[in-house]
Amino acid sequence: MKVFGLIAVFVVGLLLLSATQDFPSWGDPRSAASDGEVSSFYIEKTESVTKVPNMVTAVLADFRGYDTMFETVVIFIAGIGIIAVLRNFEGTDSPSDNDNDDDGAGLLARFTCSLILPFIQIFALYVVAHGHHSPGGGFQGGVMFGASYILLALAFGLSKAKQLFSERRTMIFAVIGIFIYVGWGVLCLLLGKEFLNYSVLDSILPGDSMMARSHSMLVVEIGVAFTVTAIMFSMYSNLSTRGRLSKGL
């Protein structure tokens, strides 16, 4: 098996290395990828069409918003898949899984985490809301928010984190996130134009059609953040307890 692996790796590696002769030099501004029409359009016209300085968030949430919607659905399906494979409903009421001795980490870690956690959550909300002007956006802020709940589960024990963010609430959050995204697109459909065409929304949102696109991007990113938060915590709580959700790490 190892000989076969070595032969396969050498053949593929030689093919790829011989293909690097045709590549442009690294960092060339006149290369084919950087000089094409699509990227030139995105760089030059994003600010004037949508009034959003961060080009990556504008392309992700407005010009190619259909892809981002299905990316959110992929995360949701992964969360559901983990529950379908691992979740074990038999032993959740047995008295042998005693939750009283699940203290989490020691005194120093608990004290430090209780000081730090509110600031992590405020920073996560800031990253979601300022995705237009600084690096960030819905996905990054959602992962940080979910990670704050994972920190809570590690420091205080999983039962304490389950009181704040039970399994039912997690799934409701995940579904609400997807509904916000798809519902916003259907709202554009109801007002006359195509699915996810945000410029028709200037009749209900304040400002002209360019500001309507900027506001809609914020709403859509909030939807992504909801789903990602819920699924990150659900993935951790299922993987660390082998599906029983009783005692954490």
């Binding site: 960092g27 961060n54 990556v56 968030t57 690096p135 960030g136 956006g137 996905f139 990054q140 992962v143 940080m144 979910g146 990670a147 994972i150 990150m232 993935m235 951790y236 993987l239 660390s240 307890t241 082998r242 790490l249």
Partner: protein
């Protein structure tokens, strides 16, 4: 676009990838995988891809390492190769 920084980080990256695959203790392998994710995040931040570096720092060096360590604790910790 400082080429000295790029070459040093790329060599560390190859070393981290090889070490992570050779360790027999799975907990150590997961931690070196976290180091690999963090070095890639530095490389992207230096190349000017700040959104991608932010995402990789949150996802790769955060959540991905934690769930791998959670799996290693639930199953065996020692591997035979």
């Amino acid at each position: 676009m400082i080429w000295q920084f790029d070459i040093i980080i790329l060599i560390f990256l190859v070393v981290a990838a090889i070490v992570s695959l050779r360790l027999k203790d799975l907990l150590g392998a997961s931690m070196v995988f976290g180091i690999y994710s963090f070095l890639i995040c530095l490389l992207w931040a230096e190349m000017g891809a700040v959104d991608v570096a932010f995402t990789e720092a949150a996802v790769g060096a955060g959540v991905s390492t934690v769930i791998m360590i959670a799996t290693v604790f639930s199953t065996t910790r020692r591997s035979k190769d």
